[in-house]
């Protein structure tokens, strides 16, 4: 897809000191140990850990290998291409906004445009069925991920508080909390304090002091559009360059279209397409780290006579039970300027409402963040909030842009097998069916949203503002290839190894069994680090399988 790679200057093959604009000098064409599909949060961690352990790693990424200095800009409109813009068909009662909202494209994946919030999941997140009678239990517990959360946070110098009040981990974080915070975050903390709600400056993958050759944050405020000073962690600026130093090969701008299997039912590698031509990458272990929509799509599109319903799909659970976080925003107007554009977007958070409180009338809970916003995001959100805000109503509202504050919900959404990724009848440029993504909120989800919106309004009022607009947004994608102990009701084991194909792994938020009620990236990376350890310890057995 050369026309999608806006800049012809991008190299597509990267290893050691070599960069090529062609695929004639591939490093591990025939002798890779591991092939990873997708260079996002999970793919980056896997590439780094596995190559550091001495394995020959090839990562194949659909989008470009970005150069932040020349590819990124301080501009919302032009940076939409950090999202996966290829069309997906959406349906269900609450069709999901995809693209930049929740899917990354290019090396770094979603980490190039995430807010940098690195919360841990709570112990109860892994046992919602046992504790609350909803969702499903994970095949792992918090204690299984704890050493990997510790490792990830240390590896990228997460900044955060000395004392964290909620969940299983109470700090301290490797680097001090960000200080000062933004005016919108101050507003949030003032409102919460009046209501007796505890808040913190959240743990962030954003430097509060120089780290690893990257500077501290300059409060430019464009975390969601590509960090230019490299103060925000992404696998683009952290793990992938280190993986290359350890010997990994990164092939970018190349779309994996098929996972290959042999007559023993094992994976032998993948077919990928660069600039209209197909190439093969062989490997004794293949890991799909291409996220919630593309992993099921690739498994389903790779169906063959031995696996007629798609690879790794004997359970029928491939593509089932995808989840989002409810992420409604409340915009409130204040007498004094807030200036939502300034500073790291999220610098104040509460998890006071995270776990089940039976008095509230719904199971599980949510996180609230003060959340900065630039003009395009703000105007589009207000335009979509309904109530006839267009023409002069929108224009007059936006003239007061600097007087608005915003709070955002990250709410748990319970898994439902009818929320799914399937194949549509429409084909893409490779002739492959494009995905159909179906999503509807359930009753519990809607009751949670109602509670959270009311709480966000209370906070804005307590801070002296007037709630004016509520937007119905979602954030993040999870599930669709869930892990589990039972091969009849899950796609992989707890390490992401598919039940059906012993040398095929899945590693991303696809594996999530429930959504949790906080930002998922830290958990994605902890799972990836755990899978990497498992593969390193058992490489010979898995590769021989």
């Amino acid at each position: 897809m050369p026309n999608k790679n806006e800049s012809p200057r991008h190299h597509i093959n990267h290893f050691n000191d070599y960069r090529y604009t062609h695929l004639n000098n591939r490093k591990y064409k025939d002798d890779a140990d591991v092939c990873i599909v997708g260079a996002g949060a999970a793919g980056g961690i896997l590439a780094y850990e596995l190559s550091k352990a001495g394995l020959k790693v090839v990562v194949i990424e659909a989008g470009p290998f970005w150069d932040p200095e020349s590819d990124f800009a301080s501009d919302e409109l032009s940076m939409g291409h950090l999202g996966w813009q290829e069309t997906r068909i959406v349906g269900g009662g609450h069709p999901i906004q995809l693209g930049h909202n929740n899917c990354g494209r290019g090396v770094g994946g979603g980490t190039t445009h995430f807010t940098g919030v690195l919360l841990r999941y709570f112990e109860s997140d892994f046992q919602t069925k046992t504790i609350d009678g909803v969702g499903e239990d994970w095949p792992i517990r918090y204690k299984d991920l704890r050493p990997y959360y510790d490792k990830i946070e240390k590896d990228i110098a997460v900044s955060g508080p000395k004392d964290f009040p909620w969940g299983a981990y109470h700090g301290p974080y490797p680097y001090p909390s960000r200080d000062p915070i933004s005016s919108n975050s101050q507003m949030f903390r003032i409102g919460c304090e009046k209501l007796g709600i505890r808040t913190v400056v959240p743990p962030l993958g954003i430097n509060s002091a120089p780290f690893d050759g990257r500077p501290p944050c300059t409060n430019r405020g464009f975390c969601n559009y590509g960090c230019m000073p490299n103060a925000k962690f992404s696998t683009l600026v952290h793990h992938i360059p280190k993986a290359i130093e350890h010997g990994a090969e990164i092939i970018s701008d190349s779309m994996v279209t098929q996972v290959l299997t042999n007559n023993q039912g094992l994976a032998t590698g993948v077919i990928f397409n660069y600039d209209g031509n197909d190439y093969e990458q062989k490997a004794p272990i293949t890991i799909l780290a291409n996220f919630v929509v593309e992993t099921p799509r690739l498994l389903l599109n790779s169906a063959n006579p031995m696996f007629p319903n798609g690879l790794a799909n004997s359970s029928g659970w491939v593509g089932k039970a995808i989840m989002v976080h409810s992420s409604n925003d409340v915009y409130g107007k204040f007498e004094d300027e807030i200036r939502l554009y300034k500073g790291t977007p999220i610098l104040a958070t509460t998890q006071e409402f995270y776990e089940t409180d039976k008095d509230r009338g719904f199971a599980r809970g949510y996180t609230l963040h003060a959340h900065g916003s630039r003009p395009v995001e703000t105007a589009k959100a207000i335009a979509k909030s309904g109530g006839g805000i267009w023409g002069s109503a929108l224009r007059n509202t936006m003239l007061d842009y600097n007087y608005y504050g915003r709070i955002t919900l990250v709410g748990e959404v319970l898994p439902n097998p009818y929320n799914s990724v399937t194949l549509s009848a429409e084909k893409d440029e490779y002739g492959l069916p494009i995905p159909h993504v179906t999503f509807s909120y359930g009753d519990n989800d809607q009751r949670l949203i109602k509670h959270a919106v009311s709480k966000m309004k209370e906070i804005i009022e307590a801070a002296g503002g007037t709630p004016e607009f509520v937007t119905t947004d979602t954030a993040h994608l999870m599930g669709g290839c869930r892990m589990g102990d039972d091969p009849e009701t899950s796609v992989t084991d707890s390490y992401g190894r598919t039940h059906d194909i012993a040398n095929l792994f899945i590693c991303s938020a696809s594996l999530f069994v429930t959504s949790g009620g906080g930002n998922p990236t830290n958990t994605v990376m902890a799972i990836a680090a755990r899978t990497a350890d498992h593969i390193i310890e058992n490489y010979r057995d898995i590769a021989k399988s």
Partner: protein
């Protein structure tokens, strides 16, 4: 223009452009001097007129330079093969949705008011757009139909994104905008960096 005015009448975000990185300077600067011809790739001149009319009503702004940039933004996304992130199953692909939607809009208006949409006076245009936004103005003529709410939302949301990307509009709303490499230093309540829009300039 509306009666309401911004809080920062003397602020011009472009005064600060030399402090921005060159990539951002290029992208934002290019929005200021867009000309209509000959570089449009998707739209015909007739279509451009209809799109101008729709955007000026939806955004309550008649300024040609800004509307021209918006038309270019639409032209870019419609002629490029980059995908539209998501589309509902019953909705046509965006080039068809917009092209046929505008054609039907002109036809339906002609039947109803004896003028195409773009030739209507401002008040009737507003009435039509209100009907579209409320889902009570079907875009149907004989066998041809386009989902009118999806059509007007596509135009409205994309036009809004482009409008609030225009530096003239940034200046009006007091958005100081790009801040790389220098960043923002004074981020707390009541504080502004010296180069940001200030109310005391009123």
């Amino acid at each position: 223009m509306t009666e309401k005015h911004g809080h920062y009448p003397t602020f011009n975000v472009m005064d600060e452009k030399e402090y921005w990185d060159s990539h951002t300077q290029e992208i934002v600067g290019n929005r200021l001097d867009k000309k209509l011809t000959p570089d449009l790739k998707f739209f015909t001149i007739d279509e451009v007129d209809t799109l101008y009319s729709l955007c000026s009503i939806l955004l309550d702004d008649q300024r040609r330079p800004i509307l021209t940039f918006i038309v270019h933004h639409f032209d870019n996304i419609l002629q490029a093969n980059i995908g539209e992130s998501q589309r509902k199953a019953n909705v046509p692909k965006q080039p068809l949705l917009i092209r046929e939607g505008m054609e039907l809009l002109n036809q339906v208006c002609h039947k109803k008011y004896n003028f195409t949409f773009k030739a209507l006076n401002k008040e009737v245009k507003k009435k039509v757009v209100k009907g579209l936004m409320e889902g009570v103005f079907p875009l149907q003529d004989g066998k041809k139909s386009i989902p009118s709410l999806d059509f007007i939302h596509k135009i409205f949301y994309e036009a809004t994104a482009a409008y609030y990307s225009h530096p003239t509009v940034w200046s009006e709303i007091g958005y100081a905008g790009p801040a790389y490499p220098r960043g923002y230093v004074r981020t707390e309540l009541g504080l502004t960096d010296p180069w940001e829009a200030r109310r005391d300039a009123e």
